[in-house]
């Protein structure tokens, strides 16, 4: 059925004159045969944060729909007892809901029928990890596989817990907080391999992605994101599309001296998987910790999309989004895997609303960029050269210490940070929660860490100077037409994930605590509910044991954007939280911290 709607989209698009070789005709949505069976019923569960391997965050449940969602009400709630930013998606498997909290990373198992707590598991991460995490002590969720719930702790452990008993099955120490490494991402389980990456690009780490054996926790492979090809797991199968990504040991040669050894390029975001191609896709974080002047070169493989074989970790191709990153445009955002007819041919693509502000459509078999369109206000770059694949920087926005550069857009959190989008095959739209911020990099100030004075950039963020001048937006992007279908301006950055369903309802939350249901076709707000704290979590939906559909969200403000509330930052210090506080001074008056699960249902 989904294809009928998209067939209509197709008609519109094929009527457009071809702009370039990449102009495409109809979009057929989705996706991967065994991640979403398009014709079959939804299993009603939510076993990983993105729902499916294609990362659509789309549910085929349709009991709750655009005509009845206005009657949604609270079914039950649960307090997590933790006051920091709650970014995780609750999981639902076998009539049990699993919730992982920010530090101290407690895992709760809740009975779907009663809301009762079945058990809790406390991994007791080392308290010192809190001082190492850059941007609040968040956790982005767990993954369910083979009777285990697997998740990461802030102090660098991956743990597998028996989903029935709450007993620890294995625990593997992957990273070292003494060297600045923490883990905040949600793992992805592919073919009995648990994929985990590290955070800490601000701390002089050398980033990596590792695969652990789901049964034992043993490390099967680890691919570094800087250094010689042997360490990056680049071998004979590696065929990047663009010349600037080709060559040997680029992870060494594109750095001065041995700066690659502390070059950052962590991985704290999202991984997708295509079972037919047997490839995983993910992006790496920003290079560090030097300011750009001290790391001349492309700084590979920071801010880079990798396609790898999950069995061996071998890289099959790579594409660097932001060579020689100037503005902390981490490349860890989600990639939504779609099959898209282009010039009469079905192309296997991935769609990435990238941090640098461009909506990339990339051929996921070879890494060719088919299109890269701005999805917001950009001043820091001029576009993406589709012949070379290179991002074209705007020289006047190059930051230098001792000089004031104003209106760098998007600001360091990018056009979109970690908060994942959702795709509906019924509308052909990608629902993108994001922020619309610019920043000034002003003068310098002395600071003091570990007894060493240094001079820093004083970054101040504020709403982009576009009509409405708000700090955030919930955007519906038409993938075929390559432009917005509609958008909802939000006063605050939209730091929550998105969810869309076959009932043609899209869900998201705001940082002042409104959980909203909107019409997936036109953006009309159909229902909203005020939660106890701001929302930066990921909404999910499931079928309960009684056969009814539910929607769940964690409220609990925090994260980089909400640190002013969860971390009690001083609103007078405009450079706190790396400059984000300046843009969020009003947040403490508008919400309180506090972690709470809300579950909604129709009456």
């Amino acid at each position: 059925m989904a294809f009928v709607a998209c067939g209509a989209c197709a008609g519109d698009a094929s009527g457009n004159p071809a702009q370039d070789a990449t102009a495409r005709a109809p979009a057929v949505a989705d996706a991967l045969p065994n991640s979403i069976a398009n014709d079959g019923p939804d299993d009603g569960q939510w076993a990983r944060p993105a729902k499916d391997y294609a990362s659509t965050r789309y549910s085929r449940l349709d009991q709750i729909n655009a005509s009845n969602v206005a009657r949604l009400g609270v079914a039950w709630t649960f307090s997590t007892g933790v006051n920091r930013g709650h970014e995780a998606a609750p999981l639902v498997v076998n009539n049990t809901m699993y919730v992982v909290t920010p530090y101290p990373n407690v895992l709760y198992a809740l009975d779907l029928a009663t809301g009762d707590k079945k058990w809790q598991y406390r991994p007791k991460p080392r308290a010192a990890a809190q001082g190492v995490a850059c941007c609040d002590v968040v956790n982005r969720g767990a993954a369910f596989a083979d009777g285990k719930v697997v998740f990461n702790t802030l102090d660098g452990n991956t743990v597998a817990v028996d989903a029935n008993t709450g007993r620890e099955v294995w625990r593997t120490q992957l990273s070292d907080i003494n060297k600045g490494e923490t883990i905040t991402m949600a793992p992805l389980v592919v073919k009995n391999r648990v994929l985990v990456g590290t955070s800490g690009g601000e701390m002089g780490i050398r980033g990596w992605l590792a695969a652990l054996d789901l049964a034992s926790g043993r490390v099967l492979w680890r691919a570094y994101h800087t250094g010689p090809d042997a360490d990056v797991l680049i071998g004979p199968r590696f065929k990047p599309f663009y010349a600037s990504d080709q060559g040997t040991d680029m992870g060494v040669k594109t750095w001065p001296g041995d700066a690659w050894k502390i070059g950052g390029a962590g991985m704290w975001g999202w991984i997708s998987y295509d079972p037919a191609l047997n490839l995983i896709y993910y992006g790496t974080a920003n290079p560090g910790p030097w300011n750009p002047d001290q790391r001349p070169g492309d700084n590979k493989w920071a801010t880079t999309l990798f396609a790898r074989d999950p069995d061996t970790g071998e890289a099959v191709f790579a594409y660097q989004f932001s060579p020689h990153d100037l503005h902390d445009y981490d490349g860890i955002n989600e990639q939504v895997l779609l099959d898209l007819p282009v010039n009469g041919q079905t192309r296997k693509v991935l769609v990435r609303p990238e941090r640098n502000g461009y909506m990339y459509v990339i051929d996921r078999t070879n890494g060719q960029v088919l299109s890269a369109d701005p999805y917001g206000y950009i001043t820091s770059t001029r576009g993406v050269d589709l012949k070379t694949g290179r991002l074209i920087y705007e020289p006047s926005k190059y930051t230098k210490q001792g000089e004031v550069v104003r209106e760098i857009c998007p600001a360091s959190p990018g056009m979109k940070d970690w908060q994942p989008s959702a795709f509906s095959p019924r509308t052909g739209l990608l629902y993108v929660p994001h922020q619309t911020l610019c920043e000034d990099a002003e003068s310098v100030e002395a600071n003091y860490i570990m007894g060493t004075p240094y001079v820093g950039m004083n970054v101040k963020m504020y709403a982009a100077p576009v009509p409405g001048r708000t700090r955030g937006e919930f955007l519906a992007w038409d993938i075929v037409k390559r432009k917005p279908a509609w958008s909802i301006r939000e006063d605050l950055p939209v730091w929550s994930g998105a969810l869309v369903t076959a009932g043609d309802v899209a869900f998201y939350g705001t940082m002042d605590g409104w959980f909203k249901a909107v019409d997936a076709r036109n953006g009309k707000v159909l229902w909203q509910f005020r939660c106890g704290s701001g929302i930066i979590g990921q909404p999910v939906t499931y079928r309960g044991p009684n056969g009814r559909q539910y929607v769940a969200i964690l409220s609990g403000v925090g994260g980089w954007s909400g640190a002013i509330v969860s971390g009690d930052l001083d609103p007078r210090d405009s450079s706190a939280a790396l400059g984000f506080v300046n843009a969020m001074r009003d947040l403490p008056a508008r919400t309180q911290k506090g972690g709470m699960l809300y579950v909604f249902a129709l009456p």
Partner: protein
């Protein structure tokens, strides 16, 4: 007398009393009990020469000295000095004073500075004549170590000064956080000079001075110049105590102690090998 003017008079009396209390507090702090049952120090448990949880740093010793002067026992709240240190400790109300902050740090209320130090060049004797300036031509070829901070766009001043001169490829970075599993996390950059892995390290004076005074490595320290590179890149910093912005009375008490015991504090800093500079260091 109207009730309004009575209130005003009462307020004026209160102000006078408060002023007297301040003066008394300043003059006779040994005997006048403060509101605090103890002086709670926000400190890093593993950051020699500044502090550690065995009380071996010069900031530990200075805290003891001040505590005795104020007649208050010293307690510690330990927290790694990384991002969020001040907001998680001092500004969270968990402790009352940070023993070392630059006077330009406006997140806190600062006392008068109790020392002024400089970034220094650390070299071995076989380097030849000691380097004195970032413009020394030998720096273009020497292997140079600098410290880095992982704040976005931020760097230690030496890294910035070198990159402005195009000195990049021969510069090696050492994370200012170091390896926190070691007893002196910041030592590796100076170890590297002693081991001939690099030729020059550019390090904050107190670190280098302590290292050289406590090891047998025959290393030489030379303050860098210029002291301030234009438009605004200082290499010399005044270091003060930091308290919460509203704690002006406590700040005044601390200033008094710093003045009264300046001689003892100078001897304490000498004992730790902390090099100091004056604002008008003679050029040579």
């Amino acid at each position: 007398m109207s009730s309004r003017s009575r209130k005003r008079t009462a307020a004026a009396v209160m102000c006078m009393l408060a002023a007297v209390a301040v003066m008394l507090g300043a003059r006779a702090s040994r005997t006048v009990a403060s509101a605090r049952p103890s002086m709670r120090v926000c400190a890093d448990p593993n950051n020699l020469p500044f502090s550690n949880d065995r009380g071996e740093g010069f900031e530990n010793r200075l805290a003891q000295l001040i505590g005795r002067e104020l007649g208050e026992p010293v307690e510690y709240v330990w927290w790694s000095q990384r991002r969020g240190f001040i907001r998680s400790t001092l500004n969270a109300g968990d402790c009352d004073v940070i023993m070392g902050v630059p006077t330009s740090l406006d997140m806190v209320l600062r006392t008068q500075p109790y020392y002024r130090s400089s970034y220094v060049f650390v070299t071995r004797a076989d380097f030849g004549v000691e380097p004195r300036s970032f413009d020394d031509a030998r720096l273009e070829r020497a292997r140079i170590g600098v410290q880095m901070i992982g704040d976005d766009g931020a760097n230690s001043p030496p890294a910035e000064a070198l990159s402005r001169r195009g000195i990049i490829r021969n510069v090696r970075g050492y994370m200012v956080y170091g390896n926190y599993a070691d007893s002196m996390p910041l030592a590796p950059i100076m170890d590297a000079v002693a081991r001939h892995e690099i030729d020059v390290a550019v390090v904050w004076g107190p670190l280098a001075g302590y290292y050289v005074s406590r090891t047998r490595a025959a290393l030489r320290l030379t303050p860098v110049s210029p002291q301030i590179e234009l438009p605004f890149l200082p290499f010399v910093f005044d270091i003060a105590l930091g308290v919460r912005r509203r704690d002006t009375l406590f700040r005044n008490q601390l200033n008094d102690v710093l003045s009264r015991r300046a001689g003892d504090i100078a001897r304490l800093l000498d004992a730790y090998g902390i090099p100091r500079v004056s604002a008008t260091r003679r050029s040579s």
